[in-house]
Symmetry: C5
Subunit: 91 residues, 5 copies
């Protein structure tokens, strides 16, 4: 998983039926110094925890992300699965 | 998922049988400033929403993309699953 | 999927049993200008369409590629699934 | 898999139910000279072996990582699956 | 798949039970000129073909690699699945 910041939302009216009702967040993974970084690609992720803009979140990517969907046929490869309260780094 | 722009199409007459009838789009993911960027690789993706050239779309990659295919044996790792109407970014 | 050019072959006599009889091609994905590019990694992919050296092909990577194999236990993450006849890019 | 060093922990109170009780480590894959490297992204991984800060560990990423979870619905794409005792490199 | 060279081994006494008995190789994928390259990350891969140090091997990564394991619950995302005898590149 990655530590990412929520920076926006995407609206898509015409889309795969399995995505209807899902909120699509734009998130940006932080770099290894826990900073935002233009070189890091943004990701569109399904919100599963009610994350708001500016919050630090736990992002899962790849086919594992699809497990958050009620419909197992949802073609989802990114999801926000937690709101980060605390990060402790040493060394 | 990623935000991408449709920039072309690919025609392959000889191909895996499960792909017959699928439209193959060439899309280009946008960079973190929502710009096109030569450094970003193009992707060939199955169209599932009738996307046209120039449109901004929602792109899913990896094995999750195969879920859009009627035939679960289709070896597909990229699909266009939505047409983007609006992007809101703050911060 | 990616657009790639077939540039060679690999022979491995001692290998996973599920790969016996499969032809292993070396392919090189094209960059976003549809050029070959030393910075792009080569990929060893199972041939499923009888692709020859020099041909432009459709390459699928990741676990989706394994779906082309008759034996679902084949540990394959790259396959050539089409011969490209035509590429149309605009914009 | 990758060789990584444990450098911290993440706490997320609000999260996917399947993650409750899992310890989330922040790990940093080493580069090809077995050094830490700012250019390498940090990864948040589920601990399955009781790894402590500073230890060298075996990191698995991608959907394979989810196999360590008791709940197969856990959307996990990174896990620490071993403590490394010894690395032998030649050439 | 990728062409890689075996450069070492990893020993992990404390590890996921499904990995007991598996030999863990350190391999380094070659670059597009078939050279070793410090910029390429090393990979820890399960050996399935008795590969020795210095040998050129066929490396599979991602969840497909787990198919080589007798225990389908093994969280493995990299495996050596062949010893390369010959590489033929033209163009």
């Amino acid at each position: 998983m990655q530590i990412a910041r929520v920076i926006g939302t995407v609206v898509a009216t015409r889309k795969n039926d399995t995505l209807i009702g899902s909120k699509l967040l734009i998130v940006k993974p932080l770099n290894s110094n826990l900073q935002e970084d233009d070189a890091k690609d943004i990701v569109v992720a399904v919100d599963t925890v009610g994350a708001g803009k500016g919050e630090l979140v736990l992002l899962v990517t790849g086919s594992a992300a699809g497990k958050v969907m009620a419909d197992s046929n949802a073609p989802v490869n990114a999801a926000v699965i937690g709101i980060i309260d605390d990060i402790e780094i040493s060394g």
